[in-house]
Symmetry: C2
Subunit: 419 residues, 2 copies
Amino acid sequence: MIRHAVTLSVGDELLAGETLDTHGRTIAASLSARGCRVLQHRVLGDDVSDIAAAIVAATVGADLVVITGGLGPTLDDVSREALAEAMNESLVEDPASRMHLDQWYAGRGRVMPVGNVRQALRPTSATCIENPNGTAPGLRARVGAALVVVLPGPPREMRPMLEGVLNDELSGESRPTIVVRAFGIGESDAAERIEPLMRRDARLPVATTVSQSLLSARIRGNVPDDRDSIETLAVQVETAWHPFVFGRDDVTLSMALGAELKKAGHTIATAESCTGGLVAAMLTEVPGSSGWYPGGWVTYENTRKVEDLGVDAELIEQDGAVSRSVVSAMADGARRRAGSDYGVSISGVAGPDGGSADKPVGTVWIAVADEAGIDARCFCFSGDRPVVRDRAANTALQLTRLRLRGDDSDLLWQRDARS
Amino acid sequence: MIRHAVTLSVGDELLAGETLDTHGRTIAASLSARGCRVLQHRVLGDDVSDIAAAIVAATVGADLVVITGGLGPTLDDVSREALAEAMNESLVEDPASRMHLDQWYAGRGRVMPVGNVRQALRPTSATCIENPNGTAPGLRARVGAALVVVLPGPPREMRPMLEGVLNDELSGESRPTIVVRAFGIGESDAAERIEPLMRRDARLPVATTVSQSLLSARIRGNVPDDRDSIETLAVQVETAWHPFVFGRDDVTLSMALGAELKKAGHTIATAESCTGGLVAAMLTEVPGSSGWYPGGWVTYENTRKVEDLGVDAELIEQDGAVSRSVVSAMADGARRRAGSDYGVSISGVAGPDGGSADKPVGTVWIAVADEAGIDARCFCFSGDRPVVRDRAANTALQLTRLRLRGDDSDLLWQRDARS
């Protein structure tokens, strides 16, 4: 039974800080969902000895070792050599893989570069894992008591191969987990609200994390029978964090808002200035968003606010673009022009330039307009340009979601909060 | 002298696959730029023994060990305890840190939760590193021959503290590096074009990587005097990859396009369907983009294409939204309505739904319109929804950039490429 795993990502470019390693997380999430705990994740360079040593060390405590990277055709791809060294075996050519390679190139009317034949090599007792989306097969072998799997780096190739291995190797038995997602309260406030649940001596302790301003509470059972217990805990967290909880597990704020709009048969249009299209992009990330999102405007310069959304030029002259009056006119204009039920608008100072004593960098007005009226609020987001834009976009989605639910709670970073 | 480092990211949520570890990369990039090589990066859970063991192991081969995470106020934050264990010391309260903590809460009119006083603890012989953006100070200590530094997890807090440590500890002596950035050719094609430069026995081998479809060639010198040699190599790569190279190091496609528009005194408007605001968001990521980007439209449903951009409804009826005629009308409509020099438009099938035998998922038309005319091309992007949107957005930027430069080269994924 596979209960513990160690994962390794291979690539000089990772240690040079060139590329972001995402496999550590992707594989950890897949394993966790199937009840296998990751003990450790390592990032190594393209060095045969380093990789071989890490494989050997990993097989001591783990039942499964997953390595990604280093299976390409270039001379710095040495994961095959490293696995062979860890196994104390030679590399031999796998006939089926060689044939598949030849066919891949022939089918594209291309000549295989001579060096690429290395991709058909494997340690003597290892087997190849077919790669449906690329040329390099993966490798699978026993090292000590552990199953060792080497997969290609490119995510599109790695993912189906990983799922294939996990489907074969991991039984359905898993550790039930629920992650509660929220936005709009601070981490300390959130933690204080569920403090008794977070004690380390609790049988099933709840852990909180913040990532890109989104708050999560992870509740994990130990055995399948814990399903009811973690459901109870999840409901307690959702109650304590109400109304800022927008969903569980893989649900995003956009998906949550989209589901609410779809349920009500409503539509929404967007009018963005400083977020420059981020909110529109987040909404359209959701498959099926065409059912509730007709479109929006990126009115980056003031002329566009006037011409596209019908904002009164004098209002901009008088109050400035970053003001209650202008952001309200933007939300209302978007709603009317698109003929949608809701309009959401954002106008602020993302930085680094554009701030003033009155309206420092991070000052952002956000408004939601509907048939009943317009709710416009001013926020002060800390952080640099990308952070301000990201927080403003998420706040706009949450503000809209709360409006749909008839809730007027104050949100984190709101200036002049009423409570 | 600090030449080698090991980095550790701490957090159960990382090993559970909840959160993506970005510190490994951020710190590696900072260290590489200052001539310090990262030997290994590890991701560990919130476990005192595991972290302590990893610290001790790291100090064997490295001059510098950087640990992030586990300095929060909750019970699962155990990096202080782990460092103390690795050093075989006790934890004592640091008076200055305790005072700073008390003042932080008092200044916000809040009562410090009792548990938070743990954040002022440090091993006896360690010192605290001030945190300008949060409550938890960092820690700095000697373990064996290595300098060990523990920093908070939140990027906004970690980054200035890291820079402070590196400024103090690392001399200006560095390994000069140039990274050449390109988009629009495949990795194999790109590698073949510079094959002689990539040989491992070259004195300064060039390494290529692909990340999110963006291509990079990394050229690193060994000593400051290699500056001229790597410049020569970089120019060779740029020549071999022309015209797909858009810049070096931290330059993004948006920045490159923006710089060209700014230089020519030109402006651009966007009209997006399936990319839903991504291109606008990418353009406005660039500080100062208001100088060349007045705004754009997200015409997600067809009515918006007709009403906002003046696309002939009959064209959509006849040819469908994903067609040469419609995407051309969108680009031209955006250009005219915004009064800009250029208009760029995107209309396609991002998936998972919406595909047909004729226009499968991944079929995207992209057009660039200017005074001289309209260049519209059809692309077939492989991948799922987010990948299709991302590739389409980057392709739109590169197509526009090439148009500005009077270049009509075919791009990767282009259907009916002429060469």
